[in-house]
């Protein structure tokens, strides 16, 4: 008996014919990448003149000025713009980075504590309800956080938190509320609201990871005489640290692009850098939204195009951050499975 002389199956590349149904679905799925490319393309094309006009001054100066809109535009550096126009966004870049990193500083310990509490300390019967509570923080619309910030948080900072920090650290000018307007709207308010928004992102990522730590690992730590708290901090946390870093970067991406809540509580600074924790700031995202109306008053359109350049820069920053998060947590999705 001889075997049929067909080559073994693995040697033949299987060329499957794609059905029209599959091609149709592929076409629909490709709309997502196409939308992304179209967005970047149009923003880039629209911002092109602004990129040429602004050059390095865009990120190197803090002076955002539309120039004299009542005179005829003058030709500056080869572009027709209002006299004295300069579009520098350094103050907004600083405001964005400062508020986001401050938010991370607040959010990280709180998120780690919350995740440990939910995974290890919460009573079994209450756990679903308590973790639901944390998840719900993440779904509160940004504008409602802003409303709460205006109505509750800003007065709280102005009357209690601000004076409290000043009483302890007031000898350092940065922490003295008397060096600011004292309204409560500013860097600290923005950072706290952002921290609230990203804490559940980090906490739920970490909580899911903690729940998946193998039983044997915990048991062997207990067998070695570790207390329950040592099991968590010395055995479990190290195994999930990569996930934790991924969650943090994911939260950072969210904080950098956050608009409404920050716009409502940041005080809306223009053309100066924050000197204290309580000074008003502006972020890139909030600035795009708040300035489009006045930018439309520029007949040369250079101001609107410079806003498009901000949008482009902001997108590239969040793209880099989100790609980093994805590389760190391989296979993690931005959509949490409920």
């Amino acid at each position: 008996m001889s075997l049929p002389d067909d080559p073994p199956a693995s040697a033949v590349p299987i060329k499957r014919k794609r059905s029209r149904f599959e091609l149709g679905l592929t076409g629909i799925a490709l709309l997502i990448p196409i939308a992304l490319f179209v967005i970047v393309l149009f923003l880039g094309q629209y911002a092109w003149q602004a990129i040429g006009f602004n050059g390095i001054r865009f990120i190197g100066t803090i002076d955002w000025s539309l120039g004299n809109l009542y005179m005829n535009p003058v030709v500056t550096r080869g572009y027709s713009v209002p006299l004295g126009a300069n579009y520098g966004i350094l103050a907004f870049i600083v405001g964005t980075l400062f508020s986001s990193f401050l938010a991370l500083l607040f959010a990280l310990p709180v998120a780690v504590g919350t995740a440990i509490f939910l995974a290890e300390a919460a009573p079994e019967r209450l756990r679903p309800a308590l973790s639901l509570l944390v998840e719900l923080v993440a779904v509160v619309p940004s504008v409602v956080f802003g409303l709460w910030g205006i109505y509750v948080l800003a007065p709280l900072i102005s009357h209690y938190i601000g004076p409290g920090i000043t009483a302890v650290l007031g000898f350092i000018p940065f922490f003295n509320i008397h060096n600011s307007t004292g309204s409560g709207f500013g860097l600290l308010a923005a950072a706290i609201v952002l921290a609230l928004m990203i804490t559940p992102i980090i906490a739920t990522t970490l909580y899911d990871a903690l729940r998946q730590v193998p039983r044997e690992l915990r048991e062997s730590a207990v067998a070695l005489g570790a207390t329950r708290f040592e099991v968590v901090t010395k055995t479990m946390l190290p195994t999930v640290r990569v996930t934790l870093v991924g969650g943090v970067v994911l939260g950072l991406g969210r904080a950098l692009g956050e608009t409404m809540a920050v716009l409502m509580v940041s005080g809306g600074a223009l053309n100066y850098l924050p000197k204290t924790l309580f000074t008003p700031i502006s972020t890139m995202a909030a600035f795009i939204l708040s300035q489009l109306d006045s930018a439309l008053g520029d007949p040369t359109n250079m101001a609107v195009k410079s806003l498009a350049e901000i949008a482009l820069v902001l997108f590239l920053i969040t793209l880099a951050v989100n790609a980093l998060a994805r590389v760190i947590v391989r296979g993690a999705t931005f959509v949490r499975n409920v």
Binding site: A29, I32, G113, F117, Y151, R228, F334
Partner: protein
């Protein structure tokens, strides 16, 4: 022992730092918002800083349902592709770019829609520009949630259907999609919650109007609830604040009802 006790205490405190602001936020919105509820709120439109929210309620409904009209076929179709045919390089690329789109700041998306649809196409502030912008936001969510829920449909079900001689299309729609339907509906509802709560991408696409939507999709600005929250809280009038909180309560009711609802129904019973 002392270290442990302090450690557990700090963890509990951290949880409170998350939970208390949420409870305070919800309580504030419920108390202040419910105080502003009246028949007039739902039957009249805002006039300056007074009046009701009829135009905004209608507008939010039109914009969110409008966004679903665009987003559901595309999002579910893309999710079906990713789950059934996407185990290859192209699938990974689509997945990565879909997540990238999810991470895009909504204000950037709104600005894009402004320069293309509102200015470029000449639609002006309109329901169509607003709906499409929201749709671009929720399509990637919907695609990934659909993919996740369809992947849980056992392979054996597909094989059984193919063995009976079913066409690819039949297997996809009648077997896979119908078995994974609860997950897909979850995705659609979460997408709805996102579009009801969004503000930033609408301000320069939908505009704002005090009048109830007149049925025109372009050349006609449209009001929505989140705009009321954003602008009316900055007005120095009691009536304006009352409207802002009433609008916030309506938005929160929808968002919380959807999010709590899908978790209660779909949470695996362990």
């Amino acid at each position: 022992m002392i270290v442990s006790a302090v450690g557990w205490g700090l963890c509990g405190f951290a949880f409170l730092l998350v939970a208390v602001p949420l409870l305070d936020l919800v309580l504030t919105v419920v108390i202040k918002g419910a105080a502003a509820f009246s028949i007039k709120l739902f039957t009249t439109s805002s006039n300056g800083v007074k009046g009701g929210l009829l135009a905004a309620i209608v507008g939010t409904t039109v914009l969110s349902l409008g966004s679903l009209v665009f987003a559901v076929p595309i999002g579910v179709g893309a999710g079906l592709y990713l789950s059934e045919y996407g185990q290859n390089r192209l699938g990974s690329v689509v997945r990565f770019l879909s997540d990238t789109l999810t991470g895009m700041p909504s204000v950037v998306l709104g600005y894009f829609s402004y320069i293309t649809m509102v200015i470029g196409f000449g639609w002006q502030f309109s329901a169509l520009a607003g709906s499409i912008t929201l749709a671009i936001m929720i399509v990637p969510y919907l695609a990934r949630i659909t993919e996740l829920s369809l992947q849980r449909v056992p392979v054996a079900m597909r094989e059984a259907a193919f063995a009976l001689g079913a066409q690819e299309r039949t297997v996809a729609f009648r077997v896979v999609l119908s078995a994974g339907l609860p997950g897909v509906i979850t995705g659609v509802l979460l997408g709805l919650a996102i579009s009801v709560g969004e503000t930033a991408p609408l301000i320069y696409t939908a505009g704002w109007s005090n009048y109830v939507w007149n049925g025109k999709f372009i050349h006609q600005p449209i009001g929505y609830l989140t705009y009321v929250i954003w602008t009316f809280i900055d007005q120095p009038y009691k009536s304006a604040h009352a409207l802002a909180f009433a609008a916030a309560l309506l938005v929160m009711l929808v968002v919380l009802a959807i999010n709590i609802g899908v978790r209660l129904v779909l949470r695996p019973k362990v």
